[in-house]
């Protein structure tokens, strides 16, 4: 049994007149001891840095809304300059020349064969033929309509994901049609077949005939040179997506030449017709003809040889873009030969049949003039400009210092927001688990009996299943449906709360055991016995005499618990069971990188480093606190 005077509370109890100064010097001692610990100082410094980064970063860094996906924003990586230089060449010359070697009918046959050999579904084929969004960016690459259609088939095929991946989470399906097809080379199949008659069929899950057909298909594709097309398209996609600059270059490239060739009368006609059809008001028509304000920005973007008289046409086209004549109004109408009046009537209840047909006819006319291609390009320039403007603070030259994710969200700002959420989850869930653990430990230790036994059985039951497994189970049940709530002026996914709760409710067992054993020994000590003899109630004994003596392990395990909770959240989110998008956390930023960790290295490296640094500093601080609070060294 320890001497009464060795416990701080005991000292205080014995010498009440010096209580105040003792307590004061004690906190001083603890602080001094803490900062004598070299690791603890390092930890504190790192932690301060991270907190400053999370709080201050959002103010200093340009106000790019991290939580809104911005589809116009490109991927950005700090390297691959060469690809960037190649991109325009690829798009304008190399890809069309490669594709021109294959006729449209050949491409169509290849597509049908892919369906026949069960590599893509019929729905995939229809989607490819309809022209995917990705394929449409080649609209200006060539004037040859046949060539363009062929090109779109290949771009569509390139993007198709392998079906039947088997896992519900789409993040895990990373194989594309072409990559999976590569596995069907004749050598591979021969080797597999040498191992047993059914090995190949078993491996690929299709019959031997289809495997043979796929091998032949691959050979056919190779002889046609499709592989080179695919490589070029891949390179183009990477290049285009990697650099914002590329985007601007690509969009301006060629567009002004096209405007220079436009007939002013046609464009003027489009403007007038738009006003007649009620797509714009007379006032707006006047503004367009006089020149919308946004047109002035092209003054320093047009190439030197741009004919000066065409500037007016450029202004009009910009006006048509500005009032969304094409993107906001016309592209929803089908051409007159394709339009279904019944559907159109329900879609546009405010329009009469004549108006619908008139707009449909105008759409066809508009499309013939190809002005809508130019509008699409101008839209991209506008989007890129908006982005430049949004980030034009003193940090602008470091725009996207950490790159962006697949939908173009700035990773740096998501790291800041995500870090705030991760830390918030860590702290609140630990607050829950610490209170629970302390209460359970106090009750079980102080009262004992059947309550104590029952509580300890529950602790044992919870400890018998690895925490991660339990968390996954709970999260699987509770966070399937996700909506958003507004908290502190920020839209958050409700899964944040679910995750906080389950991490908090499953993290208290260790502490409750520590507190219980402490209480068991404390309640037999003289100062507790003395308090009881003096007639103190149970509540007073627990909260005034026992609890203060348990503070050290509670503080230490709270500190270390925050680090543990942050890592746990990261594991859950990484496996797809944590906080759901669009709310960012360090864990689910990482999760997005899973598809292709080689290509998206920055998306896992930065969050990973931040998690490690945070947890490391928390561990340092926790260690320092443990030493500083050690009652044996407080005398």
């Amino acid at each position: 049994m320890t001497d009464v005077s060795t416990t701080p509370k005991g000292i205080a109890l014995l010498s009440t007149e010096t209580k105040h100064t003792k307590a004061e010097s004690m906190s001083r001692i603890i602080l001094r001891r803490f900062f004598k610990h070299r690791m603890a100082v390092i930890g504190t410094v790192i932690m301060t840095g991270i907190v400053l980064f999370l709080i201050g970063g959002a103010f200093v860094y340009p106000e790019i809304e991290g939580n809104t996906p911005d589809p116009t924003a490109p991927f950005v990586a700090p390297t691959l300059e060469s690809l960037y230089n190649d991109a325009p060449v690829l798009a304008e010359t190399e890809i069309p020349s490669l594709v021109s070697l294959i006729s449209y009918d050949q491409a169509l046959a290849l597509l049908d064969e892919a369906v026949q050999y069960q590599m893509i579904t019929e729905r995939d084929r229809d989607a490819v033929l309809a022209g995917t969004e990705n394929a449409n960016r080649f609209d200006l690459a060539t004037d040859d309509a046949e060539l363009l259609k062929t090109l779109k088939i290949f771009e569509g095929l390139r993007l198709i994901r392998v079906q039947y991946v088997g896992i519900t989470n789409p993040n895990f399906a990373s194989d594309t049609f072409w990559i999976s097809l590569q596995r069907f080379n004749a050598d591979n199949i021969a080797r597999l077949r040498a191992q047993g008659p059914d090995r190949a069929a078993q491996e690929f899950g299709v019959t031997d005939e289809i495997i043979d057909a796929r091998v032949a298909y691959l050979a056919e594709i190779e002889s046609l040179g499709v592989n080179e097309i695919m490589d070029a398209l891949d390179a183009y996609a990477i290049a285009e997506s990697r650099f914002e600059v590329t985007q601007v270059t690509l969009t301006t490239e060629g567009v002004f030449e096209r405007i220079a060739e436009l007939d002013p009368a046609i464009v003027q006609g489009l403007v007038e017709k738009s006003a007649q059809l009620g797509l714009i008001t007379a006032e707006q028509q006047q503004t367009i003809l006089n020149g919308v304000e946004s047109a002035t920005k092209y003054n320093d973007q047009v190439p030197a040889d741009f004919p000066i008289e065409q500037m007016q046409v450029l202004t009009w086209v910009e006006g048509l873009r500005f009032y969304e004549i094409w993107t906001g109004n016309l592209d929803r109408f089908l051409a007159p030969d394709k339009i279904n009046l019944d559907t159109a009537r329900t879609t546009f209840p405010e329009l009469s049949d004549e108006q619908i047909m008139a707009r449909s006819a105008f759409r066809a006319e508009f499309q013939d003039t190809k002005v809508h291609h130019i509008i699409t390009r101008l839209n991209k320039i506008a989007a890129a400009d908006a982005k430049v403007e949004a980030s034009s603070s003193f940090l602008a030259r470091f725009r996207h210092v950490m790159g962006t994710d697949q939908v173009g969200r700035d990773l740096f700002i998501r790291m800041i927001y995500g870090g705030q959420i991760s830390l918030m989850i860590g702290i609140t869930s630990v607050a829950i688990s610490i209170s629970l653990g302390t209460i359970v430990g106090l009750i079980a230790g102080y009262f004992g009996g059947w309550i104590g036994a029952l509580l300890m059985r529950i602790v044992e039951a919870l400890l018998a299943i690895p925490a991660l497994i339990l968390l996954l189970l709970l999260s699987n049940s509770l966070s399937r449906s996700s909506s958003t709530i507004t908290l502190l002026g920020r839209e958050l996914s409700t899964t944040v709360i679910v995750i906080v709760l389950i991490i908090g409710l499953l993290g208290w067992m260790g502490l409750s055991r520590i507190v219980r054993s402490l209480v068991l020994s404390l309640k037999e000590q003289e100062f507790v016995v003395a308090a009881r003899t003096l007639g103190a109630s149970d509540a007073r004994i627990i909260f005034k005499h026992i609890l203060p003596n348990c503070i050290a392990p509670i503080v230490v395990s709270a500190t270390l618990g925050v680090g543990g909770a942050i890592i746990t959240e990261a594991y859950l989110s990484f496996l797809g069971f944590g906080v759901q998008e669009p709310t960012a956390t360090w864990g689910n930023i990482l999760n997005r990188a899973q598809g292709d960790i080689a290509r998206y290295w920055w998306m896992w490296l930065f969050p990973g480093i931040f998690i490690t640094l945070t947890v490391l500093s928390i561990n340092f601080i926790g260690d320092g606190l443990r030493d500083a609070l050690d009652p044996r060294s407080l005398r």
Binding site: A464, I469, G563, F574, W604, F620
Partner: protein
């Protein structure tokens, strides 16, 4: 001792029951595993009803639990399968029936068929017994997602996980002891400080960062630089001959990741407990007796220092199996972790419950083994 073991095993029974109940109800409330059947136009309503009946998904929840425990081969379900989309003027198979009434019709084939009309649709009634024997009779049910018995599915995954777990465990023990002892002997040397720093960082690292980094360096970049690179997907290469060599190559990275993090924690522990022992009186006595330093370190000190480690490691073994979830996921290792995550995603409750139950049993058994080992290693410990 025998009595002690028996008592501990008996104590585990309520624990397992609690776990079973909790996990069962958690999985059952998570969602309907066959929900996607309603989206598939090729599956008729009758097929859907039969498929759901096979797993007893439409029984009341407490009943489902009973069936899961003791089976449903004694339980008869009444299934109403639609035979006509609409029943014209209240006839069913040519026989007029009023709403709600049950009529037995003799078909042309001579088969007697009970039919009824509900909400204007004609149904035939089928009485069917379940086929599940329940876990208490050793039947862990069928996996919904795979259509095969759970034990069969797990039997395929378990050896893979054991292979990964045991090989990484061997690596962990060798390195943790090696590093820990070396650090303890050379306390505060450069090597000691260096390893301490590294292990501090490793302990703070989430395992996926280690895994992703090693994949990026040893697979992606090595390949780019033309160096011999390591495979990162699954247990065998697709085009390989499934040889041991190929398997070993696939093992390197997952084992490295699992081991790297655990070695950091364990070696710190070994170091601490070695230091505690090395400074004790009996070691000084052994030195005074003139024993060799090697003998003192490896026989006298290590034996006592390893006692707390036996506890720690024994308790951690089942957790290593579970902790491999993330690693298996990253390396597409076809083990229990991957199986667990896939089953969770598909709400394949039978697999999940069996997995958790097995894990809990493993924890209980390893706790017991640890306690017994402790008594064997330390003659001072006796169980009463």
């Amino acid at each position: 001792m025998g009595q002690y073991i028996l008592r501990r095993l008996l104590q585990a029974i309520p624990l397992l029951i609690i776990i079973t109940v909790i996990v069962f109800f958690l999985m059952k409330t998570a969602g309907d595993p066959l929900a996607e059947l309603t989206l598939d136009p090729r599956i008729t309503e009758s097929d859907r009803i039969l498929a759901r009946a096979e797993f007893g998904l439409d029984d009341p929840l407490p009943m489902q639990f009973v069936h899961w425990l003791i089976g449903d081969d004694w339980y008869t379900r009444e299934l109403q399968l639609p035979i006509q989309q609409e029943s014209v003027d209240g006839t069913c198979l040519g026989t007029p029936i009023s709403e709600g009434e049950r009529v037995t019709i003799t078909l042309d084939t001579g088969v007697e068929q009970e039919t009824l009309i509900r909400d204007g649709r004609c149904y035939r009634v089928l009485y069917q017994n379940g086929s599940n024997k329940g876990i208490l009779r050793g039947d862990f049910g069928d996996s919904i997602a795979r259509g095969r018995p759970v034990l069969e599915v797990m039997g395929e995954a378990l050896p893979n996980t054991l292979l990964l777990g045991i090989s990484s465990y061997l690596v962990i023990i060798i390195f943790a002891f090696g590093l820990g002892i070396f650090q303890a002997i050379r306390q505060y040397s450069f090597f000691d400080n260096f390893i301490t720093t590294i292990s501090f960082i490793m302990v703070s690292m989430p395992i996926f960062l280690v895994a992703l980094l090693s994949v990026y360096i040893f697979a992606v970049q090595f390949r780019k630089w033309g160096l011999p690179y390591l495979p990162v997907q699954g247990m065998y290469s697709v085009e390989s001959d499934r040889s041991v060599g190929d398997l070993l190559r696939h093992l390197i990275l997952p084992v490295f990741c699992l081991a790297a993090i655990s070695i950091a924690g364990y070696s710190r522990f070994v170091r601490a407990s070695m230091l505690e022992v090395i400074n004790s009186d009996y070691i000084r006595t052994a030195r005074a007796k003139g024993l060799g330093e090697r003998r003192i370190t490896y026989i006298h000190a290590l034996k006592n220092a390893s006692l707390p480690l036996v506890t720690l490691m024994g308790l951690d073994i089942p957790f290593i199996l579970a902790g491999a979830v993330v690693t298996e996921r990253i390396f597409s290792w076809p083990g229990m972790g991957t199986l667990f995550i896939e089953s969770l995603n598909r709400l394949d409750y039978a697999v999940v419950i069996t997995f958790v139950l097995m894990l809990a049993i493993a924890v209980v058994i390893f706790q017991l083994i640890t306690d017994v080992m402790y008594a064997v290693l330390d003659p001072r410990v006796r169980y009463s």
